[in-house]
Subunit: 246 residues, 6 copies
């Protein structure tokens, strides 16, 4: 099985971090390939950035879908996720959604712990869009500047453990360590947190594998049936043809 | 007051229809200017198209915001609405959201009546995103091909009246006649429908005027405070500078 | 356009404060007329008082509706609002409802800040009745005695700013400065609060103007269709005839 | 124990019907006394009528509370219920609320069956106000003119049985036979309906008895603590003194 | 009327405490009989224990139902409640459910105060299962070891009063003093708590009496109609015959 | 990886059908072992049966957990699921819950299609317990007697296809073909249903595999932390020791 991990951010180092973390849990028969966005933002963290990056994700899939069995959109907030499900004949998962739904099999309520309060309202909206508010214990963030990617683990360890404690006090059974820059940290914090800790990129790729086994065409019906063919202006040729069904 | 109406579709005739309908209710001291999308789709009707067109809306605002007091995004489904609120120092309204919230002052429950079942799931999602499900009686659609724009009023009159009747039977006090191509029809159907009929573009421009009088900077705090400045790749110069705060 | 502002309290000074604040945002073609309740309470602040004052509001409208294009009930908690919508052929707005719905175009979540904890449960109920709980961040109150009306601005400034800060910390993007005695204060606090501040009487009159432009008969269908004619005992002649449809 | 049943309608024959039905289930140590409204409407069936009649209920309680251990407001829709709880040192029940809550111990979902569609939106609102929507299967009504009270049982029997069948098909485990004019009919229909049938006035008086045994002062805290004393204009002397705490 | 109180715990002293507390409010014509579980746990406090004890409750009812008019399951969390309703021709109440529903006639929001945080998540689940989250202000617990039953009143008095204060601050109008070991304490704390205090076993037995007067067969329709007869393996003879309808 | 599939019913032929269906999607490195209940019911279909069978599931796990990496409870309705999660150091999935959560990655709304209306209320309750009502389009059932297991595919094919059509009309994007006796049928109906069809036992075993890769100890924190050790009476030795932590 070939799984495409799409990093909607333009930061190549993040792609590497995400891929490495994903490979730790993938079974040997799954080949992971990864792409980095060529346009957009170094790290998406607002609605406007997600609006633009989500359009970019559709372009990326249009160009790379050939020979792929499943897709993971690897930015927290899942830019372009529902649109991609609607347009392409593949199972697609997103880090936020996959982590929330998996958490519901590991506890009654989940929380997000991430690195900056700027992301909190955006995370709240993902929960509402998935209609999982009743299982949600909140988002908890230190206010720590995100420094160099190779310093994250050292700089954020203590503040993240503290926030996990707040999440547990607020009723979370499961903590989702959120945001692509934190990929891989769950394993190193697990022993110090009295909650189930989920790594979203690991969760998202395993869920993509599960969907590919259950339902190889992905979402394809009802609200997600392919839209009627349509002409367009200003898109890449690959995406234009996908939408035109030509 | 100058109000910018943005048609996120590439069809110029729709822009004219929307502008004409909006002007029927605007007070004389409001100058309406209108734009038509240069890239994208003739008529947006799927999540993927909204993802792409919403990014285009941000580009349009970046280029046209100077001298403008308020904005209306004039495609049902409100592509780019929340992103625009977050990014620009202006009140912004969308046809769907403005109509839903106004309907709540005219009845207990509202429904959408539109021209094709393709749009139904997308409309349902707008209601959920606004968290107004408890006030929602559903979306009701004939399955009638949307012909030439100058034939819409004649072709759709009877089917739309029939669907309004279904909406009322389902508990709607207010019917929102939805979709840019139906702009202006509410006035002609009003006498034959036992519900309050709302025209969304009229509602959206009047609400933009109201917001401009109440709160000239629009949404600007909390979840909608301006995001930190950020570099980007691949955007127009106007939007790049907006996001870079330069 | 003639807009009737009804103060359901018996305090004339409040009517003046409300009218003056409303006029600051009304367009010049709107004539505002205002009434003060002749029976009831100096300042309504409980369910029992609202039950009685709401019946009084219906009496007031029955006597003053002639020549009026729209109505605003200007006490927080909107006494008699739904009953008035059902009975009279006019758009009717209330301060609480109009502010909540307008806030939904200016942020994800709104909060009330008011002057006394006595009002908090009553405000919570308005949110539930409107089914907007999912957009609500709570009510925040100092416990400050409400002194003379001409001292309110000075006495309450600091305590209200502090409560606005609490509201923002609880996730409010928009703060509704609630209670008729605070009319006009939003403008003076705006620069010191990191949230969009709404003045409910300004919001309610502008929404009444918007409804009058969109839908001159107001709520009139479905759940708000006029009730069948009915005899009654003990009402004023004007209200008796309205209910008897005679 | 003395239980006061308040009929907020001005129809004396209804009071007799309600009292007779209530007495069928009351234990012998409970003395039932009943009042009929002197002002208001022969039969309340709209929000405006409930607003006015609810104020009348407060007047009635103020005059008759002496020597009473518990109260039941015996009009469907519970006019004045929350206001009465807030103002008086007695347990107070209403027919709608008591029936809904009791139904939750007899099934997963309840429905209302009543005699006219005019009442349906009003009943829906009671469910929402009590926040029991998740347990609610709807309101089902024939459209049968309500004739003379002594003909109700004969005229409505077949139409009501038919509507109970619809309620069951919609998922109701319990059917509440709603509206004061139907008091006493549940017993005669029980054998022909595949649902638990509840008679609301019987339910409301038994719940009043239960509350009087559990909590003789009724609701008296938090949101229902007695409001601060307040002067008033235009009320009866009894109610004025109650509100003035004099 | 004969009312069977079932203690699903194996602790005889709890049965006595529960019975004594129940008898304080029962009318003289109600005979209370009580049983103590023979298998299971001294005090149930987890989902696994409730799963097992709930099966035991069904066994107990099968053996003791003869001559009984109503049942109360007297462990907080109501083990086996819905299953018992489905299987037996009797009204059945549980301490948690009866207290929550009764609280809704005494305030807008209720809270649980109990003796140990271990029970908190389990209580939260009862609220969700009953779909009463919107009326719920939370569960509040000291972390005090539950010592000998005859020391509870002395040891827990001060910590419970403190927790009641927290519940009130969180918006509770009614506090349910939860957990069988606290039976009877509400009366002794009432004067020191600014909330309505409910004793769940008293509430549950009074509600069982009410249901027996209203609806002697209990839940018996729709979702709670008796299941089709079925063979079984490994049950007691009494329960096997009940399920086999033989 | 060793995965234990527990059939809580006493019908051995069902265990074989479930195992065969599960093996079709399991990767080769997963060894599936299966057990059949020794006590209980041939086919669980009521709350009372689930209460008893769920206690049996705990007994089965206590005896068979050694050397197992993950568990699936293979009866629709998930008897004992939450209790098992709380008690054992293993990931545990259930057919209903796993199918609902997986469906949320394949569509906006899911429905159940099953073989008899008797099961409908029970299925509704599973949705509410998981708090997924907002994603739920209902349960749809023919009323067809469930004959011999080897005739199911032939007898039920046409009726099930018809019900899938109703589910789609009600807004389902995903249909969960529910009930252990239907295991394996999704594959044979897929081409004739315009929805994504999920087979719950396949979904549940793949989700168990995913959880075992992500989180080998399963739910273990917060609400699902292991309960304190406790003595018991009347359990098997294996379960008694598990609960006594001895």
């Amino acid at each position: 099985m070939r799984l495409l991990l799409i990093n909607p951010n333009t930061t190549q180092a993040l792609t590497e971090r995400l891929s490495k973390t994903a490979r730790q849990v993938l079974p040997p028969d799954v080949e992971l390939i990864a792409t980095t966005a060529e346009t957009g933002f170094p790290y998406i963290s607002s609605r406007a950035e997600a609006q633009i990056a989500g359009a970019g994700v559709l372009e990326t899939i249009a160009r790379h879908q050939s020979g792929v069995d499943a897709l993971t959109i690897a930015a927290f907030g899942d830019p372009g996720l529902l649109a991609a499900r609607e347009l392409f004949d593949l199972p697609v998962t997103g880090m936020t959604e996959a982590a929330m739904l998996s958490a519901c099999m590991l506890g009654q309520r989940f929380a997000f712990v991430t690195f900056t309060p700027n992301l909190a309202p955006w995370y709240d909206e993902q929960v509402r869009q998935a209609q999982l508010t009743a299982r949600y214990a909140g988002v908890f963030t230190p206010d720590v500047p995100l420094g160099a990617i190779d310093r994250i683990d050292a700089d954020l360890r203590a503040p993240l453990i503290a926030q996990c404690g707040r999440a547990v006090a607020a009723g979370a059974d499961v903590v989702i360590l959120s945001g692509a820059p934190l990929a891989g940290m769950a394993a190193t914090l697990r022993d110090e947190v009295p909650a189930v800790l989920l790594d979203p990129v690991q969760t998202a790729v395993l869920q993509a594998v599960t969907l590919a086994r259950l339902c190889p065409k992905g979402a394809s019906a009802g609200s997600f049936r392919r839209p009627p063919e349509k002409p367009s202006t200003g898109l890449s040729d690959a995406l234009r043809r996908q939408i035109a069904r030509s």
